[in-house]
C-alpha cells in the first residue's frame, strides 16, 4: 500500500499505540479520584502536560487537552465569542478555513455576530492589508489557519500576530492542525492567544488534541462539568490518548528537525514530475508546506482518479476529507480564483515522514498510466 492521504489522517506510530495500551492497562484510574491510584493517574496527566508544554515552549497551564482539531477550534472561537461579546461582536476569519472554523463562524452569525471572511490570492494567502482594513473597534477575534489543508498554503501568522499585538482588545486564534510538525510556529510572545492541534495528523490517535490558551485569555467553556482542564474542557480526561499524543508530538518534532528537508525534496520531485504530465496542473504554490501537493486533472472526475489509483493500493484524496461530501467544487480552490474546470477536478497528495522516494516513483507511474488509460477510453 502507498498511503498519500496524510492530511486526512496518519498511521498511528507503533510506539504511540504501545503507550496508549500501557496507560489503558496500568493507569486507568480517574485522575480526579483521590485515592493513590487516582494520584498516579493525575501525576501522569501532569507529566504529559509538562512534556507537551516543554515541546511547544509554553507554560503547562496554557495547554488544554481536547478531543481534536474540530473541538479545539469550536472551544476557541465560540469560547471567545461568548465570553467577550460585551466588547464587540465582530470576528475576522478567511474564506479558506477548515469547516470547523468556517461553519462555527457561520453559526455565530445566526447568534448576531458579524463575520468578515478575508479573501485569498491565487497562492491561497490572505493580504495583510485586507486584514488591517478589516479590524474594527468591535473586533474581538481573528481566526486564521496556519497551513491550509487542501493547498498547503501558509498564512503569514507572524505578521498577523504583530498586528494582533497592537490591538489588545482582540484575540488571535490559529488553527495549526496541518502545520504541526511540518511548518514551525512560535507561540509564546507571538501575539497568538489560542492555537488548536490534533493528534491524529501527527501519527497520534483520533479523539485527542490540544488547545493552547494563552494565560491572559479567558474563554466561556463549551462543556461545563467537573472542571477538568482548568474548567475550559470538563469531562474525564482521555489519559491514554493524551499520553499517546504527547509521545507523537515528541516524535514528530524530532522528525521535523531531521527530516523536513527530505520532505521538501519529495514534494519538489513530485511537483517537477507532475508538471511534465500532459493535462496535469499544479495548484499548490511554491511557498507551501512540505507535505501537500494539490493538482488538477481537468476532464477527469477526481473520484474516478481516486478509484483507479485505489485499485493499485495507492491512496490519495480529493478535497479535504471533511468537506468532500458536500459538493464537487473545492471551495478553497474557487476562492483562490481557479477556474471551475480546475476547482472541480482537484486531487490532493499529502505526505508524511514515512513516505519514501520509491513510493513517490511508483505513484507517479501509476497516475501517468491512469490518465493515459482514461484518455484512451474517452477517445
Amino acid at each position: 500500500m502507498i498511503y498519500l492521504d496524510n492530511s486526512a489522517t496518519t498511521q498511528p506510530d507503533p510506539s504511540v499505540l504501545e503507550s496508549f495500551q500501557q496507560v489503558s492497562e496500568q493507569f486507568y484510574a480517574n485522575p480526579s479520584s483521590i485515592h493513590q491510584f487516582g494520584g498516579t493517574a493525575e501525576k501522569l496527566l501532569k507529566t504529559a502536560k509538562i512534556q507537551a508544554a516543554d515541546i511547544l515552549q509554553v507554560a503547562p497551564r496554557e495547554i488544554v487537552f481536547t478531543s481534536g482539531g474540530t473541538e479545539g477550534n469550536n472551544i476557541a472561537i465560540k469560547g471567545i465569542a461568548l465570553e467577550h461579546q460585551s466588547r464587540g461582536k465582530h470576528i475576522i476569519t478567511t474564506e479558506i478555513e477548515h469547516p470547523s472554523v468556517y461553519e462555527t463562524c457561520k453559526g455565530l452569525e445566526k447568534l448576531g455576530f458579524e463575520v468578515t471572511y478575508l479573501p485569498v490570492n491565487q497562492q491561497g494567502v490572505i493580504s495583510i492589508e485586507d486584514l488591517r482594513n478589516a479590524i474594527r473597534e468591535d473586533t474581538i477575534l481573528i481566526s486564521i489557519m496556519h497551513v491550509n489543508n487542501e493547498l498547503g498554503s501558509i498564512q503569514p501568522i507572524q505578521e498577523i500576530g504583530e498586528i494582533a499585538k497592537q490591538h489588545p482588545k482582540l484575540f488571535f486564534h490559529v488553527d495549526d492542525v496541518q502545520g504541526l510538525g511540518k511548518v514551525p510556529l512560535k507561540l509564546d510572545g507571538s501575539g497568538i492567544d489560542l492555537c488548536s492541534f490534533s493528534a491524529h495528523k501527527i501519527h497520534g490517535l483520533k479523539g485527542t488534541g490540544m488547545l493552547y490558551v494563552n494565560k491572559h485569555t479567558t474563554l466561556f467553556p463549551l462543556f461545563h462539568g467537573g472542571n477538568q482542564e482548568h474548567a475550559i474542557r470538563s469531562g474525564t480526561e482521555n489519559l491514554a490518548g493524551i499520553v499517546a499524543m504527547v509521545k507523537a508530538l515528541r516524535l514528530i518534532v524530532e522528525r521535523e528537525k531531521k527530516e523536513v528537508g527530505r520532505l521538501y525534496e519529495l514534494q519538489a520531485y513530485l511537483v517537477k514530475e507532475l508538471k511534465e504530465v500532459d493535462g496535469v496542473f499544479i495548484n499548490t504554490s511554491k511557498n507551501a508546506a512540505p507535505h501537500i501537493v494539490n493538482i488538477s486533472v481537468p476532464g477527469i472526475k477526481p473520484e474516478v482518479m481516486i478509484h483507479m489509483l485505489g485499485e493499485q493500493n495507492i491512496f490519495i484524496s480529493t478535497k479535504s476529507a471533511c468537506s468532500s461530501k458536500l459538493k464537487d467544487e473545492s471551495k478553497v480552490l474557487a476562492e483562490c480564483g481557479f477556474s471551475l474546470e480546475r476547482s472541480t477536478s482537484a486531487l490532493r497528495i499529502s505526505l508524511s515522514y514515512d513516505n519514501t522516494m520509491d513510493e513517490i516513483k511508483v505513484f507517479l507511474e501509476a497516475i501517468k498510466k491512469a490518465i493515459k488509460q482514461f484518455k484512451e477510453a474517452m477517445e
Partner: protein, 400 residues
C-alpha cells in the same frame, strides 16, 4: 536579527563593601547554573557588567530563567552590532518592535567611542525618525517613555537595548548560609522559604508525613512545592520524617487541648536534630502572628522553648492576602491549595489551647517518655534531593 545577549544589573549587592567580590562571583555562578540547560549560553563579566551570551539560544527562554535568580536588579535583552549606522538602525528597530506593552519610546545614544563619525544628537534624531517611519502605533515621548531604546557606541561594537525587565532583587542564594524550612504543604511555608532564599539563604526542607493517614499525594505535593522553589535557587534536600507513631502517641498520652502544642514542639526538636546533623544553623517557618489558634504569641512562646536555634519567620507580620499574592506570583499557590490532608489536619483537637503555658506543657511532657519514638522518627528520615531539572518518573519513562 535577534537579541544576542542579556545585560544583568545588580543593585543592592553593589553596596556590600569588601564582600562584593564574593557576592558577584556567587551571582555569576548562580546564573551559570540556571542557564546550564542551554547549550553554549555563557555568563560573562567585563568592565563592571555582567551579561549572558546567548550564542543562538532563544532569548526569551533564557531570560525567563535569569529572571528567577536572586541578586539581580534588572535585565535587558541586548544586541551587539558593528559600528555602522545602517546596522544600528536595523537593530534599534528590532529592539523596539520586540519590546512588550509599549506605546511610547525615546532613543538615547551614548557615543563613548568618539571616533564614530555621527554625533550622538544627530544619530538620536536619525534613529527616532527611522523607528517612527517603520512602525505603527508608536509615538515619541522624551519625558516619560514606556521604553528607552539605548544605543551605546563603544570601541569594539555598538550595544542596543530596549525594555528593562525588573529582576527579583535580594541576594544570591548561598551567600547567607543555610536554613531548614518546615514545609507543610500549605500556602505559607513555601512563601516563607522563597523569602528566606531572597535574602541569600540556601534551604533544605523538612516534612512530617503520617501514613496511612496522610497520602502519597500529600507527600508528592510537598515535593512539588520544593521543586517550584528550586526554580529560584538550587537543589533542595527534603527530609521526610515518618511521624505517624509519635503523633499517635502524643494524641493518646497528652491532654487533648495541649496535643497540638506538644506536637509542634516535637517537630521543632526533630528539626533541630536534622540541623545538627546537616550543619544547618537556623530554622525557617511560615508562622504568622494570630492567624490560627496555634500561632498566637503564647503558642510561639511555648513552642519556641524547645530550641535555641534562630527561627526565621518571614511571614510573621504579613496579612494572609499578602502571602497569597506572593504564592501566586512564585507559582506555589495552585499546588498549595490542593485539598490533601496533612499531618496537622488529621488529628484536630476539639478545643486547642490558644494560650498554652510553658509550665503546663513541660509538666505534661514529663509524664511520658517520648524518647524512643522521637529517635525512631529521626532514624526513619528519608531524604529526597529535588533539583530544578525536569524529571519523568521512572514508571512513566517510556510512555513519552
Amino acid at each position: 536579527m535577534e537579541f544576542d545577549h542579556i545585560l544583568i544589573r545588580y543593585g543592592e549587592m553593589a553596596l556590600k563593601g569588601k564582600n562584593i567580590k564574593q557576592f558577584i562571583n556567587k551571582l555569576q555562578h548562580n546564573v551559570g547554573q540556571k542557564i546550564k540547560e542551554f547549550p553554549d549560553a555563557k555568563v560573562k563579566r567585563t568592565q563592571g557588567r555582567m551579561f549572558v551570551l546567548l550564542n543562538g539560544n532563544d532569548p526569551k527562554a533564557v531570560m525567563e530563567k535569569c529572571k528567577k535568580v536572586f541578586g539581580i536588579q534588572s535585565l535587558s535583552l541586548a544586541i551587539k552590532v558593528e559600528n555602522d549606522v545602517e546596522k544600528i538602525k536595523d537593530a534599534a528597530l528590532y529592539a523596539l518592535r520586540n519590546a512588550e506593552d509599549v506605546k511610547t519610546f525615546k532613543v538615547s545614544v551614548k557615543r563613548i567611542n568618539k571616533d564614530f563619525d555621527v554625533r550622538s544628537q544627530a544619530l538620536n534624531q536619525m534613529l527616532g525618525g527611522h523607528l517612527l517611519s517603520n512602525t505603527e502605533g508608536f509615538t515619541v515621548d522624551v519625558h516619560h517613555p514606556d521604553v528607552e531604546v539605548k544605543v551605546e557606541i563603544r570601541k569594539e561594537a555598538t550595544y542596543i537595548t530596549s525594555s528593562i525587565v525588573p529582576g527579583l532583587g535580594g541576594l544570591p542564594v548561598g551567600t547567607s548560609g543555610k536554613s531548614l524550612l518546615l514545609l507543610s504543604g500549605g500556602i505559607d511555608s513555601p512563601v516563607a522559604g522563597y523569602l528566606a532564599m531572597k535574602r541569600g539563604v540556601a534551604i533544605e526542607a523538612i516534612h512530617f508525613h503520617s501514613p496511612p493517614f496522610t497520602s502519597e499525594r500529600a507527600k508528592q505535593k510537598v515535593l512539588d512545592l520544593a521543586k517550584q522553589l528550586t526554580k529560584y535557587g538550587k537543589s533542595i534536600n527534603v527530609h521526610i520524617v515518618p511521624f505517624t507513631k509519635l503523633q499517635q502517641e502524643i494524641f493518646r498520652e497528652m491532654p487533648d487541648e495541649y496535643a497540638m502544642t506538644i506536637m509542634r514542639r516535637m517537630m521543632f526538636r526533630i528539626a533541630e536534630s536534622v540541623c545538627r546533623n546537616e550543619n544547618i544553623l537556623s530554622l525557617t517557618t511560615g508562622e504568622n502572628l494570630g492567624q490560627v489558634a496555634s500561632q498566637t504569641m503564647d503558642s510561639m512562646h511555648t513552642i519556641n522553648e524547645v530550641t535555641n536555634y534562630p527561627i526565621i519567620r518571614p511571614l510573621v507580620t504579613m496579612d494572609k492576602l499578602e502571602v497569597i499574592n506572593i504564592a501566586e506570583k512564585i507559582g506555589t499557590y495552585e499546588t498549595s491549595i490542593l485539598p490533601f490532608e496533612d499531618c496537622c489536619t488529621i488529628f484536630v483537637p476539639k478545643s486547642p489551647k490558644t494560650k498554652p503555658k510553658r509550665e503546663k506543657v513541660n509538666y505534661y511532657e514529663s509524664t511520658h517518655d517520648f524518647t524512643a519514638s522521637i529517635n525512631e522518627a529521626i532514624e526513619g528520615i528519608e531524604t529526597i534531593k529535588i533539583t530544578d531539572k525536569k524529571e519523568i518518573e521512572e514508571s512513566f519513562g517510556d510512555l513519552f
